[in-house]
């Protein structure tokens, strides 16, 4: 009986940590930015397929697990600097023959929310835009918009992202093939 009670308390505590540490639902900021983007893409019918946040709790767990892996120290250091990750995947219901462009008004709206564009890639089958946001003169957030004929993907990373950017630019450079691969 005591063992059952302990087990229940343990499971409930874990669920509470996951739910209340922002480890499942996306936050208000992400939803507002998402809505701005949806509003700019009003010609597309978007249906939410997946939308979630990996917050501090789950990330700490992930970092603990990766400490036993063969991951190199640079990558581990970068992971340590990520405080939250939010992802949204939205299916495009009204498929088009041609890939829709990402409207430029998205850039204006994201700038109003403090984001700066750093990369824009337009390929045959995918458009990708990457924005960053400064916090206290540090790189505090990164926002990625990826649009292809099937779906819209939004990714937001928060943390101290300077090393991540530096590594990304060093490894991927400005060569478009590498940028598309990311």
């Amino acid at each position: 009986m005591r063992k059952n009670l302990k087990l229940k308390v343990g499971v409930l505590s874990l669920a509470a940590v996951l739910l209340f540490s922002g480890c499942v639902m996306v936050d208000r900021d992400f939803r507002l930015t998402r809505d701005e983007i949806f509003d700019s893409l009003n010609s597309l019918d978007l249906n939410t397929e997946v939308q979630f946040q990996i917050g501090a709790g789950l990330l700490s767990l992930g970092k603990f697990v990766t400490s036993f892996s063969n991951m190199n120290q640079d990558t581990r250091d970068m992971l340590r600097e990520i405080h939250s990750l939010q992802i949204g995947v939205y299916q495009i219901e009204n498929h088009r023959e041609n890939l829709p462009p990402i409207p430029t008004k998205i850039e204006r709206r994201l700038k109003q929310r403090g984001y700066l564009p750093i990369v824009k890639v337009k390929a045959k089958d995918e458009n990708v835009w990457i924005f960053v946001k400064m916090r206290h003169r540090r790189l505090g957030a990164m926002y990625i918009i990826s649009l292809d004929q099937e779906e819209l993907v939004l990714v937001e990373l928060k943390g101290n992202l300077g090393k991540l950017i530096e590594k990304a630019v060093r490894d991927q450079g400005f060569h478009k093939k590498e940028l598309q691969a990311t």
């Binding site: 750093i118 990369v119 960053v132 003169r137 790189l139 530096e166 060093r170 400005f174 590498e178």
Partner: protein, 186 residues
């Protein structure tokens, strides 16, 4: 009274931060080394286009991270206001249009007294490099416009206080085609 004073100081602090950052963001536009590539007429049928736009706040962060490995490069990155790279993968029939764009920008740069360094590799490969020298005899801007034999066009603008000894390193660090091979005259 104390609460009001604290609120007032917080507001003043926040308001003073915004102009600092806004000023950083638009400073490059007024700089003599800046060239507005946003008006380049990109052919509609261009297969792929990439634009990379690194402004001063981002470059300072990259400089801080680079400092331990290469101080000279870090110092140059700190003094830059903008690195902008536009690349297009063109259909062979569109190459002539981009050459027209390059000629138009060249005429504009000549009028603005940019100095031209031409490096023509062969009939199909073409790379034009321009430097802007400011009143203090420093290099304030660099422009590279190039088309290679794979029909890839590259437009690069670096704005700020440029150290030509470090330009090739910037090209190698960020893998900017056209910059990697620039070597200063000795």
């Amino acid at each position: 009274m104390l609460k009001r004073l604290t609120a007032f100081l917080v507001i003043i602090f926040i308001v003073t931060q915004i102009p600092c950052f806004a000023a950083d963001e638009n400073q490059y536009k007024k700089h003599p080394g800046y060239v507005d590539f946003s008006k380049i007429q990109i052919p509609r049928d261009a297969e792929e286009t990439v634009e990379v736009f690194l402004q001063s706040p981002i470059l300072k962060i990259v400089a801080a991270v680079t400092e331990s490995k290469d101080q000279a490069l870090a110092k140059m990155l700190e003094n830059l206001l903008l690195i902008r790279v536009n690349t297009f993968k063109l259909h062979p029939t569109e190459t002539a249009k981009i050459v027209t764009e390059i000629n138009r920008i060249e005429n504009m740069l000549h009028k603005q007294k940019w100095e031209k360094i031409v490096r023509v590799k062969d009939k199909k490969d073409r790379a034009n490099i321009f430097l802007k020298i400011d009143d203090n005899n420093r290099i304030a801007g660099l422009v590279v416009m190039a088309i290679d034999d794979d029909n890839e066009a590259v437009f690069v603008n670096i704005v700020g206080n440029i150290d030509m000894d470090q330009v090739a390193k910037v090209g190698k660090k960020f893998k900017i085609e056209g910059l990697e091979e620039i070597e200063p005259e000795k």
